[in-house]
């Protein structure tokens, strides 16, 4: 079995573990909270303006984190946007180089350089965010309690293994100036060129990156990283007046209910 096949065999298992974590740590809890506060909001009662505002302020701009300070906000923005854009470019890369192969996205063409630029830029943004998080987390600051250290280290390994694998791949190829669009991948590749070719070590790093990235998805559901799903959902739900009112009503009804054994 090739390493690529092994990777594809493991992916459904890792995603299965992610879903198990999401069910156990998010969905059943959501169900209980909704059960207590009433019901899902019927579609016609959704306040679209409030939803849009909550999404913009809480998810896109993360204003709540801004209240904790400029640095925590910058760090969180770098990590969340770096991760999101990187994930999007990963999907685009698979789509245009494998599933809907277009000539523009062949190796060295403009589309391919665009994908490499996006992947590397977002990877670098993520890397800077993670380094700030780990350095600030190591210092005895108030901010340290908000840092998910194991999660940040795990993600750092994913990012670093990706950059090293890509650099080894570039170092194995003849020099090509247009590859400068690959930014850090290109710079690292040029630095590693004197020791090229990398054959076994390139396969090792590529596989390590693929497995770590997939395992990280599984890890999301079982760690504090679940806030990637939970926090935006929570912010969006509670932006809805109907849901907030239902919650207050349920709490008030509970308080007004006579306790057993008391007159």
């Amino acid at each position: 079995m090739s390493l690529m096949s092994l990777f594809w065999v493991l992916i459904p298992l890792f995603i299965g573990i992610l879903f198990m974590g999401l069910y156990r740590n998010l969905l059943v809890k959501l169900a209980v909270i909704f059960g207590a506060s009433g019901r899902f909001i019927p579609l016609q009662e959704v306040d679209a303006a409030a939803l849009g505002q909550a999404y913009t302020e809480e998810v896109l701009l993360q204003k709540r984190i801004r209240l904790r300070g400029r640095l925590p906000w910058a760090r969180h923005m770098l990590i969340s946007w770096g991760f999101t854009v990187l994930f999007a470019f990963d999907i685009l890369t698979a789509l245009f180089t494998k599933y809907v192969p277009l000539e523009a996205f062949n190796h060295g063409h403009a589309g391919w350089l665009f994908l490499k630029f996006g992947l590397n830029l977002s990877g670098m943004v993520l890397l800077v965010g993670l380094l700030i998080a780990l350095l600030r987390g190591a210092a005895a600051t108030d901010e340290a309690r908000f840092t998910d250290r194991p999660g940040a280290i795990f993600l750092l390994l994913v990012v670093l293994s990706g950059f090293v694998a890509q650099a080894m791949h570039f170092a194995n190829l003849p020099p090509e100036p247009s590859r400068g669009w690959a930014l850090l991948g290109h710079w690292l590749g040029e630095a590693l060129r004197p020791w090229a070719p990398y054959l076994g070590s390139y396969s090792f790093f590529w596989m390590a990156h693929a497995l770590l990235a997939s395992a990280f998805l599984a890890y999301l559901g079982w760690s504090r990283m679940i806030h990637v799903f939970a926090a935006p959902l929570g912010r969006i739900f509670y932006s809805q007046p109907a849901l907030r009112e239902a919650k207050v009503r349920a709490v008030m009804e509970g308080l007004l209910k006579p306790r057993a054994g008391k007159s």
């Binding site: 079995m1 090739s2 690529m4 096949s5 594809w8 065999v9 493991l10 992916i11 459904p12 298992l13 995603i15 299965g16 573990i17 879903f19 198990m20 069910y23 156990r24 998010l26 969905l27 059943v28 809890k29 959501l30 169900a31 209980v32 909270i33 909704f34 059960g35 207590a36 019901r39 899902f40 698979a94 494998k98 599933y99 504090r224 679940i226 806030h227 939970a230 926090a231 959902l233 929570g234």
Partner: protein, 74 residues
């Protein structure tokens, strides 16, 4: 659990697994030995998911409301 959330629990999982098998087939080929290994992995993940869903205890309201707040700022 509200019916809409229950439906989401099942549909989101099985559709994702089916998409992964379809995506994998572009790399390992349809009907090859590796393809059947991917299918086996997806089936194993599905069985594990069904068992996990069936056996997950429903938390009390206090646990459900406080744990996400402590952990996930929900």
């Amino acid at each position: 659990m509200p019916p809409a959330l229950r439906r989401f629990t099942w549909w989101s999982f099985f559709v994702t697994e089916a998409l992964l098998v379809a995506a994998a087939s572009a790399y390992v080929g349809l009907g090859t030995r590796d393809f059947w290994l991917v299918v086996t992995a997806a089936v194993a993940a599905s069985v594990a998911y069904v068992i996990a869903v069936r056996r997950t205890p429903v938390p009390k309201l206090g646990e459900a409301a406080s744990a996400p707040q402590r952990w996930y700022w929900f």
